[in-house]
Symmetry: C2
């Protein structure tokens, strides 16, 4: 069934049975290992072994281990960041609660559906420091700012009066990232669960029960507009 189309390059010592590009095979193998064992604890040899190539062959696709992680991180935030403008365009400007709910749902889904729970890598100390991940950190900061902005606008006056965008953004985004913990604990993440998390974020803003209900149903409708395609799409796939 997996009759491989012949391809250029010296054959692998273990023939590939996968249709995805070698680069993505590496990314997938690395993601699983980084998530289960940790970045520093994963050797390039282990990654290569999973892919079915020799350790040195990795360096044809990536300049180093760092670069593999950098790309994985990018792929886990970029989709959500890219959708922020569309959210703002779709949601009527007064209804900030809906915007926040929708943002949360999209973020939750991206984190939940990513192969191998890449979200837990955010906390890895390695990531916080090295220059290589600056682009990822910038994207994440943008997301924090968006959460903060949406949250402050949706919040009741008494809540909004007391806190700045940055701190509130961190609080909201962090509370959404609980998906990662839940996934890691082996609990299944249902759609209901995703909605509970999003609703909890709105309650943090002191949004009323009724407004939350409205936001939930509107956001769920709008969610269909966000085809989940941009995520983990192999480079060069223009289908």
């Amino acid at each position: 069934m997996t009759t491989r189309r012949p391809s250029p390059g010296r054959p692998r010592h273990v023939p590939s049975s996968s249709a995805v590009s070698p680069r993505d095979q590496v990314l997938n193998a690395a993601a699983e290992l980084f998530v289960t064992r940790g970045f520093a604890a994963t050797s390039t040899r282990e990654i290569a072994e999973r892919v079915g190539i020799r350790q040195a062959s990795l360096y044809y696709h990536f300049a180093g281990k760092d670069e593999i992680l950098a790309e994985l991180l990018q792929r886990s935030v970029r989709p959500t960041v890219d959708k922020v403008a569309k959210i703002e365009a779709l949601v009527p400007p007064q209804i900030h609660a809906t915007a926040l709910y929708l943002l949360a749902l999209i973020d939750i889904r991206t984190l939940a559906e990513a192969p191998h729970n890449v979200g837990i890598l955010y906390g890895q100390a390695d990531v916080t420091n090295s220059e290589i991940y600056a682009e990822f950190r910038d994207a994440r900061q943008e997301l924090v700012a968006t959460y903060g902005r949406f949250g402050l606008q949706a919040a009741s006056p008494s809540v909004a009066a007391d806190i700045d965008t940055r701190e509130f953004g961190e609080m909201l985004m962090h509370s959404v990232e609980v998906v990662t913990t839940i996934r890691n604990a082996g609990m299944t993440l249902t759609a209901k669960s995703a909605n509970r998390i999003a609703a909890a974020a709105l309650r943090m803003c002191d949004v009323s029960k009724d407004t939350i209900a409205t936001a939930a149903s509107t956001a769920t409708e709008l969610l269909a507009e966000f085809h989940h395609e941009s995520h983990q799409r192999p480079a060069g796939d223009h289908t």
Copy 2:
């Protein structure tokens, strides 16, 4: 001024200028390195260097790197877990909101005041798996259960009806652990900020504004009862 009292054992190649036990010196140095560089990325040599002893001398105090991390993790949750019974004794049984607020404040303070932001190590993948950290994971699970229990009892009927203890516990505890992110981002954690985080946790339970205000002032009073002593106390210090 730091005239060292003579002590048994061969002298260090760099004489210690610290009064704390060698074991705690190792723990402190390791904590800083684990937090800034990551566990796997930190070598025993680096730890020893900071302490001012040779790499091999670490093994007189700890059986291995793992054991150092295990103890650091323990020290970061044990204080809070140990206080749960006292919280339940001090807070009148009907006032669950206050109990949750107090739990959150204590947890936040423990995470905020620990030297070197050890909380970020919770997410490190290494920790999730290895058997050595089982004791830590158990303690943390107990804390999750407590958050869930306090939260469910404090929650409005409509919120409580919809979610189970475990998931709610993860959500509440995770939202409190934002301290870790805030600390890591270099933002200072003020007492006001701690209260904002605790209040947000109560809002997640749909607790009314008035009840939150009462819980906040009662919990702040009660907080004085919890001398922060058990944390990072050097072993054998019975002062």
